[in-house]
Symmetry: C2
Subunit: 202 residues, 2 copies
């Protein structure tokens, strides 16, 4: 498991109220604490047309009731049975939330891992290998930012980051980056981040 | 109803197999003919963080069984009860598909209209007011494109456009535009189109 973060692009998304126990797929925006946002972030991080971004992974840090925090890691290089619709992604998250946890990553389904980890634990784990960028609306324009071979992007859900989580993120972040002149949804930020990086590569 | 296309940005999305009768919200990627793609396109066309793009409208041209074609228009300036999750958007589409149709737009719910119209009918209606751009992977880079005050973007679902539909679109299109070096999903194309236009405006 030493290569668990073996991707070039990595997205870390904080779900402030996203629940930490199995939930109803038919009520993800309500009783599951805006789990729909988490699902869209996973889909937008990993899918292109007719394919998966094998060089990308995404980690959801779920902080809602009843058993926070839990982190779910989905690796583009090994995930299977994933489709881009919210209900499918929700099913994969729900399965991971049904497992008994430890502080170490355990495998839920192919390419999907879950652990009792908070945002600080995740960033500490990836710090050695990744340049960490915090996506916030007052940062440096992404078009003026530098990217290493391996870059991780941290972003929040509709609530943003709590003051406490932001302090943790700022301790690890190499830079604060902004994308758009408008305030966008988390999954839209992921689409745009990929897009800007894709343009740099070609 | 003469101002039915009263927006500055307009997205026209063709759903080749998206069904034209009420469907099960729990099986949108399957028996509803990839209606999940249509839902994501609506959400990405209309939502920003904590708000709706009032200057944007989106039209879905549904061509699946049992009763094609049907077009559903959702206006950002007047839509209500819309949330960005697929299930919510699906409910709004399903309601519109339950109505008896004519060749003229009829209102389903606030800001949502439905009619027996195919892609050619839609483009003919908007041609007078909008510059029409067809999003295709071999077009001119969007960063080198010109935009008028009112621009419409035409794009297909995972299948793309049939030869027949493409002929119709090319008859109306002012230009063919490409976004990314990669082949992306329809909703991702909408996010990026908005993003590029938002950057031009500021």
């Amino acid at each position: 498991m030493s290569d668990i973060f073996n991707s070039n692009r990595f997205f870390v998304v904080i779900g402030n109220r996203a629940v930490t126990a199995p939930f109803r797929l038919s009520d993800m925006p309500g009783s599951a604490g805006r789990m729909d946002i988490m699902c869209r972030c996973v889909a937008q991080a990993l899918f292109i047309s007719h394919g998966i971004r094998r060089d990308t992974s995404v980690c959801l840090v779920l902080k809602g009731e009843p058993d926070p925090p839990k982190s779910i890691l989905i690796r583009g290089d090994s995930v299977r049975y994933l489709a881009p619709d919210e209900r499918n992604v929700g099913g994969i998250i729900r399965k991971a939330l049904s497992l008994s946890l430890t502080n170490e990553w355990i495998k839920s389904t192919p390419g999907v891992y879950v652990a009792r980890k908070d945002i600080g634990d995740i960033l500490k784990e990836i710090k050695k290998d990744f340049r960490i960028l915090y996506l916030r609306e007052d940062g440096i324009d992404i078009r003026k930012s530098r990217f290493g071979e391996k870059t991780a992007f941290v972003l929040g859900d509709h609530i943003g980051l709590t003051e406490k989580d932001e302090k943790v993120v700022l301790r690890f972040a190499d830079s604060i980056v902004k994308l758009s002149p408008l305030s966008l949804q988390a999954d839209q930020c992921i689409v745009i981040t990929h897009y800007e990086l894709d343009r740099l590569k070609t």
